[in-house]
Amino acid sequence: MPSKRLFDRIDSIQLRGVTKKYDDRFAINDVSIDIEGGELVIFIGPSGSGKTTTLRMINRLIEPDSGTILINDQNVMELEPVALRRNIGYVIQSIGLFPHMTIAENIGLVAKLEGWNEKKIKDRVKYLLDFVSLPSEMFMDRYPHQLSGGQQQRVGLARALLMDPPLLLMDEPFGALDPILRKQLQEEFYQIREKLGKTIIFVTHDIEEAFKLGDRIAIMDDAKLVQIGTAEELIFHPVNEMVASIVDSGKKFKHLDTLKIKDLISPLECMYVHDGSLDIESAISSMIEKNIEIAVVSNGSGPLGIVKLIDLLRMEDKDSKIADHVVEIPSFSRNELLSSSLKIMQKNGHSMAFVMTDEKLSGFLFPNDAFSQVIG
């Protein structure tokens, strides 16, 4: 039974004096926020500060004790919850793909309940899988436990986009991933966000992620909204010590000139290294098993470059050697200055580099967007 399309686009989301108490403790205390359509607003704060509760009130998973939440001037409490939620995409850290359904069934579930025909569902699922860079013919019929964490999170996003909701709620979507994978998914998400053109409310505890992805950042503490503003506003005009300390990690950019690569190195783990003579088929299974999205290709004496799992999955000739498909990336010595290396990388459009210690690979460098802005 199809549910009503409640809104095609978001013009505004307003929280007015929203309060929620559990026993005697405030989960949210008199929070008011105005969000514009098309904005990406990040909620950040210590655990228990009320950021997730605020998010879950917007799709009525939690209902406020007092105050109102308006989407396009409609009070969400007056909307039918099932219809409301089908108009809002939801992505969470634990992903929650249903283990008894295939990937296609997971993504298409709500469409089926809405009474779409099989063909329409299949086409939509294929489109979405390709949109999140998973080759649909390879993944549609798999079960969630056969996917790596990063792949599962991509499916989670595809599922949230099924009904083409104008609003996305994302609760630490990259929180459970390892740092390297997290950076890559952030990068991809940053890119597809433009294509999505949706209003997004995003919860995180990672200030770098907030700086990188958010148009505005809302800082919460002790059930209250402390400050909301752009990264610059928060860094240069924090309302109190607490805000200053949260954005503090941003301040290290000020000392960028003195930082060396070794200060920001992501150490190499053996599991990333694959021999160049490996064929694509075995490299894919090895990477899926190790739950990694990028592999370093080595020829025995040193690294040749990297290969990405997504690219390998798309290769036609699965018998060829991975050495033939290597993407070269720059390499720097660990004692080089960070700023100059970053400049080089930015100029050539590289999103990662090898870090060498005594001619041997010892780690990676990921210049994030915040850095690029500072030195740009």
Partner: protein, 222 residues
């Protein structure tokens, strides 16, 4: 040496055929499995529905499960003979006793399975816009399936046991053949029927175990 072995083997085989025919074991096996099948089907239907019902009425779940627990405490033969005044001798009391015993594991596992589905799945289902009915049928029930089959497997073992005892109250089946063997003190009969009864039970248990494992594996719950 070889000849002697062959002699023993053919002796056993001919004994087996003789025992099988004089005790009409084909018929006995059919009787046995018919009672078993009817009891299991009844117990599964009633047990799963009762589990669903208790899930929707959490207030009576505890007293009801306690009652079933009490039934479970009654030893098998006393339970069988207590049913005689109501159902008379034969297959009926045997099937009823099997169902009574099997209800607890099936009902309890269905109820617990539904109740203890990982809340993150329920939460995401709700957030996706599934109604409570959809959550029950698309998420909770499928996710409790391995647990429900686990209960069914316990019920299979109970039912095999009670059906065999049915021989004592004139229900026929392989229990009747065992009684004939013991009363006439026919060693061969006891051996053949005893092993055959045990083997059947182990096979059914093994099949159920395989289904259980497959379900768990498919759901990624190793």
């Amino acid at each position: 040496m070889d000849k002697e072995h062959k002699g023993v083997d053919s002796l056993l085989l001919s004994d087996l055929i003789e025992v099988w025919e004089t005790n009409s074991l084909t018929l006995r096996t059919i009787e046995h499995l018919t009672m078993f099948g009817i009891a299991i089907v009844l117990a599964s239907i009633i047990g799963v529905f009762l589990g669903l019902f208790l899930y929707s009425r959490p207030k009576i779940a505890h007293p009801m499960l306690n009652l079933l627990n009490l039934v479970e405490t009654i030893p098998d033969i006393p339970l069988l003979v207590l049913l005689l005044p109501i159902f008379g001798l034969g297959k009926e009391p045997t099937i009823v006793a099997s169902v009574l015993y099997s209800l607890l594991p099936i009902t309890r596992n269905t109820y617990t399975g539904l109740k203890e589905v990982d809340l993150k799945y329920v939460d995401i289902a709700r957030a996706m816009g599934l109604s409570e009915k959809d959550i029950l049928f698309k998420v909770r029930i499928p996710l409790s399936l391995p647990m429900i089959v686990g209960g069914l497997r316990i019920a299979l073992v109970f039912t095999m046991g009670v059906v065999t005892l049915g021989g004592l109250i004139a229900a026929g089946g392989l229990g009747a053949a065992l009684i004939a063997g013991i009363q006439l003190y026919k060693i061969n009969t006891i051996l053949v029927v005893g092993f055959w009864t045990g083997l059947l039970a182990v096979i059914f248990d093994g099949l159920a175990g395989m289904i259980e494992k497959r379900l768990q594996r498919r759901y990624g719950i190793w």
